[in-house]
């Protein structure tokens, strides 16, 4: 078997190692758009927990607060109890359908501009550029042996990244507690352990995802690009190289001008590759690595302007546009492109959920009642022969002020009493005070001497005793022995 191997020595690896990306700085329309979106999204993320919203004396004054300890979710004027979690489900559905809508209308705009992975990677890339210089300086530093300068620059870079990562993780916890209080506790070491753990984990993930892994998250880890490929069609925008204009490309402007044969506009300057944050060559066509951030468009336009050729050699185009252009026809209008059955269907679903939620929010009850019939024992014979049943009545006062409620009974002629008043003071209704934004519960009893079915359906009505009013009902049963004397 020891035949000399005629093949060249194999690389010994069955996978392709990552080629580190050193994106070059670029300026242009889409770069400025990215700046604006980055500032806006980061500002929303960092500042939201610090917004205040006065809710009166009985509720926190933080505008957006997920109060897990007390099981309340506050969002400006909306307060959600755990039993209203369907509003959160609705929001998540809207987010999902909204993403579908955006994808079928403008392609991977989410990936290119608004995804946290993109935004933070972009931020980290800028910090890196500020400390280590632009692409060429970074490449030089990468190849340079370890020396004072390299150590200093790398330390500065990693420290800055770590600081940003820590602030990112740090901002997250403020959504779950009163931000100023938690900030003070956090700095003085008095915050709950879970706060430190959360900050630790998020600092690590931010640092690793934004600083070290970057485009690999998009290409290998994220399921969204795969899902999107199923949602994109010939009407979806994607970054397209106008190969019918660019090809055949020539290496350099000079060669292009001197060439006898017809040449395309592309001078193969590779500016599009140099600026790409995922390190792809857009001229190879649509690919999973393209997050459609448009930076190659900026780079190419710059170059085309400099050499005096028409811009938009690379641009946002749909497949339909590309076909039309290639055949020399007029491009379809943006309105025609945006309004097609799929986008309209997505929009209708999205808007439908939104309207249903708004309607439900506007009409939702702020009083809730649930009745738990005492099951052990189901009924009790009293000394006068009457049969008594017991009920645990829980009243949810979802208003941010204490309220008084009257519990009354429908469907049966019987008096009510609770364990504090006793049967002697039984009455048609029982008044209960519920604290602001709390559940009040009361064990109540009712008894009857009348004969009847072993199981009678009864309704409890809980009515608010203030100017605003409002009521809630709950059905329960009254049970008695089969043979009532």
């Amino acid at each position: 078997m020891n035949v000399p191997n005629p093949l060249p020595k194999p690389p010994g690896r069955l996978f392709e190692a990552r080629r580190k990306v050193f994106p070059r700085k670029v300026d242009g329309t889409f770069r400025r758009l990215k700046w604006a979106i980055m500032v806006a999204t980061l500002a929303i993320y960092y500042l939201t927990p610090w917004l205040r919203w006065q809710r009166g004396a009985y509720a926190p004054d933080q505008a957006v607060l997920v109060d897990l300890a007390h099981r309340r979710f506050y969002m400006f004027s909306i307060e959600i109890w755990p039993n209203e979690f369907y509003y959160v489900v609705g929001l998540l559905l809207m987010a999902a359908v909204g993403l579908f809508l955006v994808t079928s209308a403008v392609g991977r705009a989410w990936c290119g501009y608004a995804c946290p992975q993109t935004v933070w990677t972009d931020l980290f890339v800028h910090v890196e550029r500020f400390i280590e210089g632009d692409r060429n300086a970074q490449l030089r530093l990468e190849r340079a042996p370890w020396g004072v300068e390299k150590v200093a620059r790398r330390t500065a870079k990693f420290t800055s990244w770590l600081l940003i990562a820590a602030l990112t993780g740090g901002a997250w916890i403020f959504y779950f507690a009163d931000a100023p209080t938690l900030a003070r506790q956090f700095v003085t070491g008095n915050a709950p352990a879970v706060a430190y753990a959360t900050v630790g984990v998020l600092t690590a993930t931010t640092f690793i995802f934004g600083g070290l892994m970057r485009e690999q998250v998009c290409i290998y880890m994220c399921p969204w690009p795969r899902i999107q490929s199923a949602m994109m069609d010939e009407r979806s925008l994607s970054v397209t190289y106008r190969e019918w204009r660019g090809e055949p490309r020539t290496r350099g402007l000079k060669r292009s001008q001197e060439s006898e044969a017809p040449t395309g506009d592309c001078i193969d300057c590779e500016a599009c590759i140099a600026v790409c944050p995922t390190g792809i060559d857009i001229r190879e066509g649509a690919q999973i690595g393209c997050i459609t951030c448009g930076l190659c468009i900026d780079a190419c336009d710059q170059m085309m302007t400099r050499i005096g050729r028409p811009t938009q050699l690379i641009g946002y185009l749909t497949e339909l546009d590309a076909d039309h252009e290639r055949r020399g026809e007029l491009a379809i209008s943006p309105i025609q492109r945006l309004f097609h059955p799929r986008t309209i269907a997505y929009f209708l679903i999205w808007a439908g959920i939104g309207c249903a939620m708004l309607f439900a929010l506007g009409n939702r009850a702020r009083i809730g009642v649930s009745v738990l019939q005492t099951r052990n024992p189901i009924w009790v014979r009293l000394s006068d022969g009457a049969v008594r049943n017991g009920y645990l009545i829980k009243i949810r006062n979802m208003e941010e002020r204490p309220r008084r409620f009257a519990i009354s009974l429908d469907g049966m002629d019987a008096l009510l009493w609770d364990e504090q008043s006793g049967r002697g003071s039984a009455a048609r209704r029982i008044v209960v005070t519920a604290d602001a934004d709390q559940v009040a519960q009361r064990q109540i009893f009712l008894a009857t001497s009348t004969r009847g079915e072993a199981r009678t359906s009864i309704d409890f009505t809980v009515r608010a005793l203030d100017a605003e009013g409002g009521l809630a009902r709950a059905t329960s049963f009254f049970e008695r022995p089969e043979a009532t004397p």
């Binding site: 078997m1 020891n2 191997n5 093949l7 020595k9 194999p10 010994g12 069955l14 005492t374 099951r375 052990n376 024992p377 009790v380 014979r381 009293l382 000394s383 006068d384 022969g385 008594r388 017991g390 364990e419 504090q420 006793g422 049967r423 002697g424 064990q443 009893f445 004397p485």
Partner: protein, 299 residues
């Protein structure tokens, strides 16, 4: 089949030397991270054996230098739980029982504690829902042998009923009218008719008419002229709808003939005062609890 080892071209790794139908197996070494994990777990296991009880010996096991035991852990958790409850238990201890209801939170805590203690100590006789059984009172209803206000319930719980070991126990004894020959069988039959009449179970017939006189002579001293009972001595109200042992003719006859002598332990001897207090508050909350009689201004 070839048994010669060779180096695979594509990977540069040696094969194990076997070949089946042209398929060979590479002798790829275990990945370093995998080996490190394996050796790490072995080291951890050795350390664990020293740190924790692990090696079984004849009667016990090695103790482990951390000194951990499951009993010790349980003790620590119980101690932590007791420490957590201590302030509220102290508050219950120092508040007079009739004043606890003034603080709804204290009352709720006491009732919850009483509910838990009830499940351990009382359900054997009174049932898990306190609905009682024959001979064991239903604590949910409004009929109380010895009184249903919070102080009376507390007194009954603390000192028990006819409990031999407690001087302050609730004490009374009904004569065994038949067994001891106080009343003949026919007289007993008549008095039972009368009791069945006052409890609205039978009409006022001739037997009951005869029984009325017998009742006045023999029973009214304890049960009252109107048969409404006497809580001072735990004599039941015979006119209501609730029967501890049964209200049918046969059971009442049996009761009059042999008497009854229900016993409840004095829980003050078995449980700490706070638990007894909490139990009383829980029983009082079951629906039949009565208000305290207004304080006597003379006292």
């Amino acid at each position: 089949m070839s048994d010669e080892k060779r180096v695979d071209e594509a990977t540069g790794t040696e094969t194990v030397g076997h070949e089946w139908d042209g398929i060979e197996e590479l002798d790829t070494p275990m990945p370093r991270w995998w080996l490190i994990t394996l050796f790490g777990t072995i080291l951890f296991a050795i350390g664990y054996c020293f740190a924790y009880p692990s090696i079984p010996l004849l009667h016990s096991s090695t103790a482990g230098y951390l000194g951990w035991t499951s009993h010790g852990q349980l003790d620590a958790e119980l101690a932590a739980d007791h420490a957590r409850k201590a302030p509220i238990l102290a508050a219950i201890a120092r508040t007079p029982i009739e004043r606890i209801a003034d603080d709804p939170r204290l009352l709720a805590a006491a009732q919850e504690g009483g509910k838990a203690a009830f499940k351990v100590n009382c359900t054997q006789c009174h049932g898990s829902g306190a609905a009682g059984a024959k001979g064991y009172p239903n604590l949910n209803d409004d009929d109380w042998l010895w009184g249903g206000d919070i102080k009376a319930i507390h007194q009954t719980l603390e000192h028990g009923v006819r409990y031999p070991g407690d001087d302050a126990t609730r004490m009374s004894q009904m004569p065994a009218f038949g067994r001891d020959g106080i009343l003949k069988a026919d007289k007993i039959d008549d008095v039972v008719s009368y009791v069945r009449f006052v409890s609205h179970q039978e009409p006022f017939n001739t037997s009951a008419r005869r029984g009325k006189g017998i009742f006045a002579q023999n029973c009214a001293a304890c049960h009252g002229a109107e048969a409404k009972g006497n809580r001072q001595i735990g004599a039941p109200n015979l006119t209501d709808a609730i029967w501890l042992y049964g209200g049918d003719r046969q059971t009442i006859t049996e009761t009059v003939t042999n008497a009854r002598y229900g016993i409840m332990p004095a829980w003050g001897q078995r449980l700490d005062p706070v638990t007894v207090k909490m139990l009383a508050l829980y029983v009082h909350s079951l629906g039949g609890g009565e208000k305290l009689p207004p304080a006597d201004p003379a006292k």
